[in-house]
Symmetry: C2
Subunit: 327 residues, 2 copies
């Protein structure tokens, strides 16, 4: 009997399919957990980095805030070009500090939240898909049982019609025997003997008719069952095909619903935060590069001499000092 075997095989496969979907969901939940832990830890690192940079900038800013150059800096931007570079270096560290703080903030208050949400959604979608799958499996098993039943019925009826047929054949044989005997010469037979024979022939005929009827009846039943079986067979194959090719695929799609799209959005949030940091950093470096291009001895020399006019302005020309009355 191939059927119950195949049927059992399919049932096992359906269970296996559920296991796979469950495992997939677990792997997703695990991945999303890792992503959250990862960004939480990275946020810590960024915050610490930001704090250290801030401290560094603050330490040197405080040091220079008192100096004459800094007063100058506050007054106008006309600084000695190296001092200007120095201030821009400190500004850059400040900027980096701010940017990494922002990064950490986006991780904690946006990216991580998104992963959390996706994880919950995945679990919820899987649960729902499980209910749908259960129903689909129920229906499929019903169809398979049905198929098994109708096949059995067909086999049974077919067996019965075969046995009925053989009984009928046997009856026909006996009848022929009887007809064969009644072919003997008449003058040899006694009157009462003749009477006996006639009655037994009748009996045989009756029996033959009964078996004939029985056989036809079973034959009909078996043909009906056979057709029933053939129709169910077709229907079953259709359902199985439908499940494996459409329903199963839909089940998987259902579990995936929104997963990739949300993941995409979450990771884009991370990426744009990183790209923004990069842009800001780059702007700052360009400002410094520009200041480095403007490292200029000539203008610094000018400023230096202007800073100390008393020391560098040339004295009056010496005039002729005439002696009394001399011209």
């Amino acid at each position: 009997m191939a059927m119950p075997f195949v049927q059992g095989e399919i049932r096992a496969q359906l269970v296996e399919q559920q296991k796979c979907l469950e495992q997939q969901t677990e792997m997703r939940v695990q991945l999303l957990q890792d992503l959250q832990d990862f960004f939480r830890k990275k946020a810590e690192i960024e915050t610490e980095y930001s704090r250290n940079l801030e401290k560094l900038a603050e330490r040197f800013m405080a040091k220079t805030r008192s100096t004459k150059d800094h007063q100058q800096y506050k007054k106008d931007q006309n600084l000695l070009s190296p001092v200007n570079c120095w201030y821009l270096l400190l500004n850059q560290v400040r900027r980096e500090s701010k940017d990494h703080a922002t990064l950490s903030d986006i991780y904690l208050n946006n990216v991580i939240m998104r992963f959390m949400q996706i994880s919950e959604d995945s679990t919820r979608m899987f649960k729902k898909s499980k209910e749908i799958a259960f129903q689909l499996h129920e229906d499929l098993m019903k169809v398979l049982n049905e198929l098994y039943t109708v096949m059995k019925t067909y086999h049974m009826y077919h067996a019965e019609s075969i046995s009925a047929e053989s009984k009928l054949k046997e009856a026909e044989k006996q009848e022929e025997k009887q007809i064969g005997r009644s072919g003997d010469p008449v003058f040899h037979i006694r009157l009462e003997e003749r009477h006996q024979r006639r009655s037994s022939v009748k009996k045989i005929e009756k029996m033959k008719e009964k078996r004939q009827a029985k056989y036809s009846e079973n034959k009909l039943k078996s043909i009906k069952a056979r057709n029933e079986y053939l129709l169910t067979l077709e229907a079953t194959n259709a359902s199985v095909f439908k499940y494996y090719i459409h329903d199963l695929s839909d089940l998987i799609d259902y579990c995936d619903l929104g997963y990739h799209a949300s993941l995409n959005r979450a990771l884009r949030t991370y990426l744009s935060a990183e790209y923004n940091l990069e842009t800001s950093r780059h702007e700052g470096l360009d400002i410094i590069e520009n200041a480095v291009d403007n490292l200029e001895p000539r203008s610094d020399k000018q400023r230096f001499m202007e800073m100390y006019p008393a020391a560098f302005c040339p004295p009056m020309k010496f005039e002729f000092q005439s002696h009394m009355g001399d011209e």
Copy 2:
């Protein structure tokens, strides 16, 4: 007397100039010291940041190294698209870690060394410029003293010639007196009286001649001294002009020699290190972005079903199971 005053003023100015150049050098040395301290501290921060990132990546790499996905990863690159993003995130952290370590390394072994060198050079150049300045000041003071001397001489000789002239005038008056007396009538005078007068007239004439000679001599000296003074005056103004307009400017240039150029090179080293880090970081982010673009449910579904063929391959079509002899 204006001269010694002006002279003193100039000497004070020369001293002031040295003070300014010394102060400038001290400010440069201080700035370069700050820059070294700044980069030393920033190098520490970058190293710590790099270590933390490395730890972070290592922690999650170790976690995933065991998983089935990772075996897959080792085997082929055909990963589920979200898992692929996850691995690229870890790679990016690894990359950032390496890049910040490199940054710290360049600060310590290149940038700081350069600032150190520039600081030493500035001090050395200032010392040399000081020697040159000393010589220039010596010469200038010599010229100024010279000018003072020749002016004094001129005034002295001029004074002498004036006094000689007045003495000569007086002698001429006496002579006139004598000539006036000798106009009296002759018969009143005694013979011996006439003799007396003649001798005194002679005396006066002698004195007058002597004074005449003295006067002319002094007059000549004073004119000579006056010309000497005028020439020295011109020479002095020329030297003072030369010092203030050329020598002083050269002195400042000498102190600046190579300062801006070396500073430029040092800061460019810093900038290129930062720009390199940025480029690498950007490449990494682009790789992740590409993976995010490839977050694809369809292909993942395909992979998922291939991972568990036993669960998802459709069963054989159900065939008609004929009962003995039935066709």
